[in-house]
Structures are given as C-alpha cells and as structure tokens.
C-alpha cells in the first residue's frame, strides 16, 4: 500500500512526469514521517551567492554528510529531486552515494537493525535517458510511477524483495490541501464523460417531407422477400430438381404465304 512505503527500507523512487507531478506525494510522505530535518539546498545549491551560505561542498557533500550521521535511529531521507542531482553529478557518483546511503551491503556488525535508512527520491522521467533511469531503477527496492486518468491520480508500485518475486500494485489516491494522503477506489472505466441526461434523443425521421416509415403490411412483405442472388435452401432445391414444372421454351412459327422455307438454303443466297 502507498502508506506503507515509509515502512520499507532502501531506496524508494518516485517517478513523475510533467502531467502528473510527484512533489505533493513526496511532501505527503514526508509529513507522515516522524522527525523532519530540512536541508535548504534550494536557495543556493551552486554557491553563487557571496558569501556562500550554502554547504561548501555542494549537494553531494551534504548527501555524504548524511551518510556519516551515527546512531540516531531509523531515518527517512527525502530528496527533491534526484533529477537535479543526476543533471549535475555523474551518474556513477550519484549511484554510489545513494547505495552507501541506503546501506545495501551493510555487514552484519556494521549497523544494528534498528538503524535502517530509507531514501525517498523524486525523479522526473522525461529528463533522463534510459541508461541513468535504468541504473537508478536497479538500485531501488521500490518504484512508484505516477500517472492517472480523468483528473484522478494513480501510483503504480513495484516492490522488489530479495529472493522473492516482485509485487505490482496500483493505488488511486489524492493529496488534500494539508498534504495528507487520501486513498481512493478505482474510478469507473468510462473513457468519456456521460452525455447530458436532460437532452432528449431526437428522432431524425420525424420532420421529413417524405415518408421513411413502413406500415406493418409493408414490413411483412419486405421481410418475406427473397433476394435474387441469395442462395437459400429453396433455391438450392429448385436447381437440383431437374425439369419438373420447369418447361423448356418452344418457338411457335406460322410461315407466311411468301415464305419459301427451303431447309437446305433458308437464306436463299446460295448460287447453285
């Protein structure tokens, strides 16, 4: 379920698009988490202002510093956005930092189980090629892809667990103005809005100057008519039954007085 994303550890990718933005969902998930520490890298991420109030090493160092914090219990790190980091940092560097953050390969004695870290990263799909997207996707334990129809947003969730089959789930939801998450049922499968029930359907044959209707008798005659080239069983029988009732045609000829019917020369043009 969408709400249980915060219970999972590892990297959770929130993939959004221009049409279905994911920042509100990220904020809603952040709101649910227990403790919030806000690192403001929006104001001056590249150290353009003098004197630089920003983190001297930039966002990468700020991320790495988060990795070094010790023993403060389970934590959620929300990154808005991973796309910004991908555009400014080489993909391998970012992947290594994320991997270290989400403690993939922690040795048994390294970190006690209570110190699981989950990283929520917002990623704008259209900005990156298939290579970086695939790399981040393979790092992530959970991927949430945002889409929707007819004004209703949906999240397609893909859970990957080690040694288990991946689980797919689709959840329809909306974010209320106070950034709380409201789950919703799937909207009905209507692809276009219903037509207005108040407009009566109009019969187009009512106001014509000619008659398009058939009376009952006319309809009966029409229905009983066999079409000339339709091969019905009656026709088949008639063809198969030779001759009975079917007269061959005869020619009846009465010769005139002037006719000289000479069977050997009927046209009278032989010069014999």
């Amino acid at each position: 379920m969408l709400e249980s994303l915060l219970a999972l550890d590892g990297l959770v990718l929130l993939r959004d698009s221009v049409e279905w933005e994911g920042r509100s969902l990220l904020k809603a998930l952040v709101k649910k988490s227990a403790l919030l520490v806000y690192h403001d890298l929006f104001r001056d991420p590249l150290n353009w202002s003098k004197p630089g109030k920003a983190h001297p090493g930039g966002p990468l160092e700020a991320l790495r510093d988060l990795d070094k914090r010790t023993g403060s219990g389970p934590a959620t790190i929300a990154l808005d956005s991973l796309s910004w980091l991908l555009l400014h940092l080489p993909c391998p560097t970012l992947c290594q930092t994320l991997h270290a953050l989400s403690r993939q390969d922690s040795c048994p004695g390294d970190s006690p189980p209570g110190e699981q870290v989950r990283v929520l990263g917002l990623l704008h799909e259209e900005l990156h090629g298939p290579g970086p997207l695939g790399a981040l996707s393979s790092l992530a334990q959970t991927e949430v892809t945002l889409s929707g129809t007819m004004g209703q947003a949906s999240a397609h969730i893909l859970y990957r667990r080690p040694r288990q089959r991946p689980i797919h789930q689709t959840q329809w939801f909306s974010i209320l103005p106070d950034f709380s998450l409201e789950l919703q049922a799937e909207p009905p499968l209507e692809s276009r809005p219903r037509s207005d029930p108040h407009t009566p359907s109009v019969d187009p044959t009512t106001h014509l100057t000619f008659n398009l209707h058939l009376s009952k008798k006319e309809r009966e005659v029409k229905d009983s008519l066999t079409l000339p080239f339709q091969f019905s069983s009656e026709k088949q029988q008639a063809l198969l039954r030779p001759g009975l009732g079917q007269a061959t045609s005869h020619i009846f000829y009465e010769p005139d007085a002037y006719d000289d019917l000479d069977q050997e020369d009927p046209d009278d043009d032989l010069d014999v």
């Binding site: 221009v18 049409e19 279905w20 933005e21 920042r23 509100s24 969902l25 929006f42 104001r43 001056d44 991420p45 590249l46 353009w48 956005s81 796309s83 555009l87 400014h88 704008h124 259209e126 900005l127 945002l146 929707g148 007819m150 004004g151 209703q152 947003a153 939801f173 909306s174 974010i175 209320l176 103005p177 409201e182 919703q184 809005p193």
Partner: protein, 262 residues
C-alpha cells in the same frame, strides 16, 4: 483579451513560474501580452529581450497600450537588449561584469552574471519608495541561450536561481518563453523544455494547427495547471482554446467555434 479572465493573470498568483511554450508556431504574442499586462499592473519588470530589438517590443507595446520607453525612463522597466549587448560584450574590458558574459567563454560556462544582473535589477529597494508591486522577470526566450552555447543545465540553473530569489524570496513572478522544436534529435532542447515544465506552475502552450496554416485560426493554446494531486474534474487540469491574432488583440474561442467557420 480573453486571457485576462483566466486565473493565470489574477493578482493572487504570486511567486509563480509561468512557462510559455510554442510548437510549430510563433508564441511571441504571449510575451507581448504579459509584458504589457505587468507594466499596466504597476509591477517592476526585468525583461531579458534576446530575440528582437527594443524598438520592436516598443511598437507592439504601444498597440497594446503601454510605452516601454516611458516605463524604462521612470525606472519601472529594465531591459537586457540581447541584440545590442551581445556585441558590446566583446568590446568591453574582461573585468567588467556583463550579463551575457558567457559569450566570451571558450567552453560553456554558467549564467551567473545574467542572474546577478536580474537580481540587482529587481531587488526591492529598502525605504519608503514602494512604488512598484511585485517584481517580474520576463525572458524572450530561453531557447536562444541554448543556441548561443549555454548548456541546458546552465539555463535550468539560471531559472532555478531566479525562482529562488524572485519567486520565493520576493514573491514575484517569472514568465519565460521556450521553443519546442519537436525534433526528436534535439536532446538539449528536450531536456530544457522538460526541466522547465517540471519547475513551472502553469504552462501555456501555443501550437500550430495539425492541418497546417489557416487564415482565420492561427493556432491553438493549451493551458496546463500543474496543481497538486487534488481530486478535481478533468477539465480543471487543462484547457484548450483556438486563437486568431489581430492587430491590437488576440481573440480566443473554443475549438471549432471560430466565427469564420460557423
């Protein structure tokens, strides 16, 4: 003009980035509209004009009822004239900062000098003189920066910094035009357009008609609100109008309802 009735231009929308985008048509009429709109609304405007000369914008502005020359003289309007100052940058000493300094760099640099110019132009002056309402940055257009050699990430960073300062700190607005080349090969233009779309609150997209040029319908305008994922009817997220550009205004109508075809 019908656009004035849409929520995009109400005074309650502050701190917003409005993205103007055109595809297979010329969307500069939207730039002229917003320029005259904000000047009439008594806002302080910084106009990064890279495509046309100042006199061109002035002539069109006069048709829409504002005088850019007068606005500049009374300090309401600050203009970066790209066509003029692009040449200046090569004749000035290197030490003098110039908004288009990146043109001098051999490799693609960042647009920090341009941001610094915008920041200095729009910085609210402390003291009694609050003559102007919210600051506004208007850029025509961002795709030209790509053509001039700036990388898409540099342009996105420039817009990011402007947003942090103009929108968030000073509660002003930004309006920027970008072109959608429609060319699948042009990756830089795609990255710029998508990156800007993700940063925007409102996207106005002017498109040519799919069937080609028409005398009575010059194109269609799609309006996309990037609102949070609240339950809303489909029609609240995006609207489409068709338009015809006239001498002093633009008329909008619903699709298929142009007076010429009714």
């Amino acid at each position: 003009m019908a656009l004035l009735t849409l929520p995009v231009t109400t005074s309650t929308s502050k701190g917003k980035l409005t993205l103007l985008c055109d595809a297979k048509t010329d969307g500069s009429f939207l730039v002229h509209h917003f320029l005259s709109f904000y000047l009439k609304a008594n806002c302080k405007v910084c106009f990064v004009a890279l495509v046309q000369s100042f006199s061109h914008y002035n002539i069109v502005g006069q048709k829409l009822g504002v005088s850019l020359t007068a606005a500049r003289e009374r300090g309401q309007l600050v203009v970066v004239e790209g066509l003029k100052s692009a040449v200046d940058v090569f004749f000035r000493p290197r030490e003098e900062p110039h908004p288009l300094q990146f043109l001098r760099e051999a490799s693609a640099g960042d647009l920090q000098p341009l941001y610094a110019f915008v920041r200095d132009a729009l910085e609210p002056v402390d003291g009694a003189e609050a003559a102007w309402r919210c600051p506004v940055l208007l850029v025509d257009d961002l795709s030209v920066l790509l053509s001039l050699g700036a990388g898409p990430v540099a342009v996105l960073d420039f817009v990011h910094y402007c947003r942090a300062t103009v929108c968030r700190e000073w509660k002003g607005n930004i309006v920027a035009l970008v072109h959608d080349s429609g060319d699948a090969e042009d990756e830089e233009s795609d990255v710029l357009l998508n990156g800007l779309s993700h940063q925007s609150h409102l996207i106005l997209r002017a498109e040519g008609l799919a069937t080609g040029f028409c005398k009575d319908v010059h194109g269609q305008l799609r309006i996309l609100w990037r609102r949070p994922l609240q339950p809303t009817a489909h029609r609240d997220r995006s609207l489409t109008y068709q338009y015809k550009i006239q001498d002093k205004s633009v008329s909008f109508f619903a699709k298929g309802m142009s007076p010429a075809v009714l």
